[in-house]
Symmetry: C2
């Protein structure tokens, strides 16, 4: 039933939420003849073995990468410089180096200079996730019907790009290609700024003296709760996103702040017309997202069920 | 199986998401011998009749209120002055006037002066909702396990307060009592500011020239999507919330903006330590909310199923 094996030897470095979900998909869909998992945390590798989501584990990233057709970095971007320097000399001619980072311009700037000619850099970003981290949080359904963005550097090898696209297509993702700079701008508004805002509102609530923490928690269903989910995302991964997509995030943040000042003024001066106009406009966008199949309740339920099952299995 | 009838005649004015959900609960749990539904929109009353979620409908709010033991206003707060003036003279001695508004100080300031002695004002706020509006969007499970906040004015009649509390307890809500001013502060941070921020980020995304609307929609799963849900909430209701809770919202917004400026500075100067410290702290709050049973995935699923069923039934 499965399509033919795509890779002889595939290495995933970093078995967190995304890396371990990819590992599960590689195993389930028979994408590689041999999948080797590498992580600097020995406890993570023990879990990978226990979960059976790779053919072998290897603590040393260079040894994991040796002889691999494809190496996927799935660690926070702050590790790329050191990890790239360790892995690059081990790569065989014709090998592909890819990643799953949420920023792409910085990734190319860090990794490209480390690679010998004949090694193909194909940066990719699966736009999917949950607020949970670690190898136990992963699940194979995470990628279904979500978008993968590939940002091929100028002059990238088309065959290598196609092979990376096919890997992710088999996990259920829809594929898009984009210039790295444009990717970073799109993600700054659709992902990075939302996370920053969510972290900030949760932090603000946590600091209040007039409202107790237990009140914030009790009445979270009024809207606050939606923000706490993404404000529970991995701190180190997100620190590295902001450090590596500074310009685009500051640009979007500037616009956000400017608009917020206008809203503040509308509230202060009781400008109901301005408030209602904005609140009406934003409603249409939600409808478009639902129509684009990116917020289907049935699908979300299936995804959440799978995430829950993963967590329950991990506790068992 | 049901507890004894609580009210002889109960009037709900405004059959939107909350009003119609309450009507459904009143009918299902036999809370009133007679439930009369009133709405200024005749199409809404037609739907109420078709759905069978009230014993009778009445276009004129004063006639609906006449002879009622309890009248519940479930309309945007901007209508309270006019509606209160129409309803108040029709209320019989001993009747209770309550509401479901998201702001409580302003509600007391508007309604209290309109009421004759012997009429009991018991403002209440069910902290529950979805992004959908109208009589078809309501469902009886909306209130289950959520908090109702009652803000009795000074000198409120305890029997009247108890009767309103019991009504909501029978819908499955948990009851809390609070001073109106404190309520407005708590809700400013847990509900009003989150909505304002969500409206603002969705509006900001809508205005971009460098990123297309279709890109924003496609990649919404990166975090943006969580904001669009609450930014799809009823525009008029939310306009009225901000106009009527100005001071508390501006206070919370000031703190939010101050903290956001600090984050902006941390990004500009690559202060990874500050970013990681905040992102780690916010993670704990999510955990507390989950532990407090206010974000239980199983429960959310049941609630969402019920909301979906309501929508599907409405389309049929």
């Amino acid at each position: 039933m499965n399509a033919p094996t795509l890779y002889e030897r595939l290495a995933i470095i970093g078995l967190g939420l995304i890396g371990s979900s990819l590992a599960r998909a590689v195993m389930r869909y028979g994408i590689a003849r041999h999948l080797v998992a590498s992580d600097r945390d020995p406890k993570v590798l023990d879990r990978v073995k226990a979960l059976g989501i790779a053919h072998s584990v290897e603590a040393d990233p260079a040894r994991a990468a040796a002889d691999a057709d494809l190496v996927v970095l799935a660690t926070p971007i702050g590790t790329y410089a050191e990890l790239g320097a360790a892995v690059a000399p081990a790569l065989k001619p014709g090998a592909i180096l890819s990643d799953v980072g949420s920023v792409k311009g910085a990734v190319i700037r860090i990794l490209a200079p480390l690679l010998a000619p004949g090694i193909h850099l194909v940066p990719a970003h699966p736009v999917a996730g949950t607020e949970h981290s670690g190898p136990d949080a992963g699940f194979v359904e995470l990628f279904e019907n979500r978008w993968l963005i590939i940002t091929p550097p100028p002059g990238a090898d088309q065959t290598a790009v196609d092979r990376v696209a096919e890997l992710w297509r088999r996990t259920g993702m829809r594929i898009e290609f984009m210039d790295a700079a444009h990717h970073d701008l799109v993600l700054a508004i659709t992902s990075h700024l939302p996370h920053l805002i969510a972290y900030n509102i949760v932090g603000t609530a946590d600091d209040l003296e007039t409202v107790t923490k237990s009140e914030v928690i009790k009445y979270a269903a009024g809207g606050f709760r939606d923000f706490t989910r993404i404000a529970a995302s991995d701190p180190v991964m997100w620190r590295d996103v902001f450090l590596n997509n500074r310009e685009a995030v500051l640009e979007m943040l500037g616009r956000f702040t400017e608009n917020l000042a206008a809203l503040q003024r509308a509230i202060r001066w009781s400008d109901g017309v301005a408030l209602e106009a904005l609140f009406t406009r934003t409603r249409a966008i939600r409808r478009s997202i639902v129509e684009a199949g990116q917020a289907d309740p049935e699908e979300e339920k299936r995804r959440q069920d799978a995430a829950e099952k993963a967590k329950t299995a991990a506790r068992a």
